[in-house]
């Protein structure tokens, strides 16, 4: 079978334009409408559960049939509603690692990996399976059953099983969700190495912000079946312009305010936080004076001082009272009442050194460019 062995053929972009509506009794139902281009390399599909990420992957793999649209891998059309093209699943040459991995429980690791190579002669088949087991560091597990190996090892087997068939597109549905950080980063490394050599579009579904930053060259943010934003992780998550994204991306402080003055000379504007007498200086935007805005500030971007700070470049210094301290993972979240309630993040060391106690006066320092203005999510 020549198509299986010619691995060097450049894969080209994965181009997806699909619409799919799910009729549910009573309610309006869920509808997916996505239009994007994924070049070779890792593209992350990011969004909360129920956003339609898996549905999108299933459409690309052919497990679900879109109502309309077109899907092409390089020059090869996989689906085209207008031209009535719908390549059957076994002939799409798509690699897919399911969230549940779906390893065949009755087959050994080697048999699982060999499964997609039935059209190959025994010689080259054994060679290829051997090579991929080696490169994913699972050669020593070849004879074991999936239930006899660890979660991280199973993940590797699932990846190897998908990649050994030389797919033109790789779809990964939260493949690392259940792994510890170390195993995760090693696997990501192996995947990167493999993809440097093969260069196919990889769609990687996740709802973890850490994975977005660790992996992605490109991010597509999905919410309720629609694409909210796409670009580099920095563009999409660092300065989220939409409220839903801000919540997704872990902005602890989301504040309502009214624009009171625009300073075009300094590139900033002043906003009065709703229900308070607190003014914040934020980056200038095209919002008119007097109109309501919503902004997002990460707790990690707010500094906390126990004395009134002087001679600082930060424009926003807000006096307040410390309401509570809470441990969150390795950080401490300080909740402060400055007229509005704000959260600032500290290290445990800083907490000890400052000798903070609830009820004491504190000052919060917020840089202008740490205030991200949000667009109301359009619905």
């Amino acid at each position: 079978m020549t198509t299986m062995t010619s691995s060097a053929a450049p894969a080209g972009n994965l181009s997806v334009r699909v619409q799919k509506r799910f009729a549910t009794r009573g309610a309006a139902g869920f509808s997916l409408a996505a239009d994007f281009e994924a070049p070779p390399g890792i593209t992350i599909l990011f969004g909360p559960s129920g956003a339609g990420k898996t549905t999108l992957l299933e459409c690309i793999a052919g497990l679900l049939r879109p109502d309309a649209g077109r899907i092409t891998a390089g020059e090869r059309p996989l689906f085209d509603a207008k031209q009535k093209i719908d390549v059957p699943v076994p002939r799409r040459r798509v690699g897919y690692v399911f969230q549940t991995l779906a390893l065949f429980p009755h087959l050994s690791v080697a048999q699982n990996v060999t499964y997609g190579l039935s059209r190959l002669d025994a010689g080259p088949r054994r060679e290829r399976v051997g090579a991929i087991l080696e490169s994913f560091h699972i050669a020593h597990l070849a004879g074991r059953k999936p239930e006899e190996i660890s979660g991280g090892e199973r993940q590797r087997v699932a990846l190897a099983r998908a990649l050994v068939t030389d797919p033109c597109v790789l779809l990964l549905d939260e493949p690392l969700a259940a792994l510890d950080p170390l195993t995760k980063s090693r696997l990501i490394g192996d995947l990167r190495v493999w993809n440097l050599a093969h260069g196919i579009p990889v769609l990687y579904v996740t709802h973890s912000r850490e994975e977005v930053f660790a992996l992605g060259e490109r991010v597509i943010a999905l919410e309720q079946g629609k694409i909210l934003a796409q670009g580099t992780p920095r563009q999409v998550l660092q300065a989220p312009r939409q409220e839903l994204l801000a919540q997704l991306a872990g902005f602890e402080n989301i504040l309502d305010a009214v624009v009171t003055a625009a300073h075009e000379d300094s590139g900033t504007m002043t906003c009065r936080l709703a229900g308070s007498a607190v003014d914040l200086e934020v980056p200038l935007s095209s919002v008119a004076s007097g109109s309501p805005v919503r902004m997002a500030v990460r707790a990690g971007d707010i500094l906390l001082a126990t004395e009134p700070p002087r001679a600082l470049s930060a424009r926003n210094i807000l006096p307040g009272t410390l309401l509570s301290l809470a441990q969150k993972d390795f950080a401490v979240i300080a909740s402060v009442d400055c007229g509005v309630r704000l959260e600032a993040q500290l290290t445990p060391g800083a907490l000890r050194q400052l000798g903070l106690h609830v009820g004491q006066p504190v000052w919060l320092i917020v840089k202008t460019y740490s205030c991200h203005l949000l667009e109301p999510s359009t619905d």
Binding site: L63, V89, P90, R91, A102, F104, P105, G116, S118
Partner: protein, 207 residues
């Protein structure tokens, strides 16, 4: 011991069991996988022999196989003799009667296979047939074995349908359970006891 009847019963049960595995497998697969709304109708028809009195089933089969029915005439023109009161007729009736015992365990087994495994197989390039033999069948082997054992044992022991369709012709349609019935009718309890004990032992072994 009535060896002729035992041999006949064993031959019948083996044949029916083999035929049922082939016949019931696609039906069970369809029942387990089809998304069709009215599927339960087919399931009911398949399950009918479970609740139908054997004589009623036997009566209809007899009518269907008789020379007045199209099926009976077709078989007559093909083989030169009718189906009723023949070994072949007995096979047809037994297949129908034991169908649910083969279909239901298999359908349950097939239905328990994680659909994601079937997706994975398909994505890895396997046809439906290959998916069936490489994934579904090995993973539902206990169901298939149960189906084989149940249909074999059930065919071995049936009485009403056999009597209706096959009659009681030694070496042709006199099965082991009919032989026991005959023995009892003739007051030869010792003979009936030996045969019955053999059946009891066999059933116990099956379980």
């Amino acid at each position: 011991m009535n060896w002729q009847a035992i041999a006949l019963s064993a031959r019948l049960a083996l044949l029916v069991c083999a035929l049922l595995l082939v016949l019931a497998m696609p039906i069970a697969y369809w029942i387990a996988r089809s998304p069709w709304r009215w599927k339960f109708l087919v399931e009911s028809v398949v399950a009918l022999p479970l609740v139908l009195p054997p004589t009623v089933l036997g009566f209809y089969v007899l009518v269907a196989l008789g020379l007045r029915s199209p099926l009976g005439r077709l078989y007559q023109s093909w083989s030169g003799h009718g189906l009723a009161f023949t070994f072949e007729g007995l096979v047809v009736a037994s297949v129908l009667y034991s169908l649910p015992f083969a279909v239901q365990p298999m359908a349950a087994g097939f239905g328990q296979v994680d659909p994601r495994l079937l997706d994975a197989s398909s994505i890895l390039g396997a046809s439906r047939l290959r998916t069936f033999f490489r994934v579904i069948l090995p993973l539902s082997l206990p169901g298939v074995i149960t189906a084989a054992v149940l249909s074999f044992a059930h065919t071995l022991g049936e009485f009403g349908v056999v009597l209706m369709v096959g009659g009681n012709i030694p070496g042709v349609t006199r099965t082991i359970s009919i032989a026991i019935y005959d023995d009892v009718q003739a007051f030869s309890y010792a003979s009936a006891n030996r045969t019955a004990l053999a059946l009891l032992l066999f059933s116990f072994l099956v379980l």
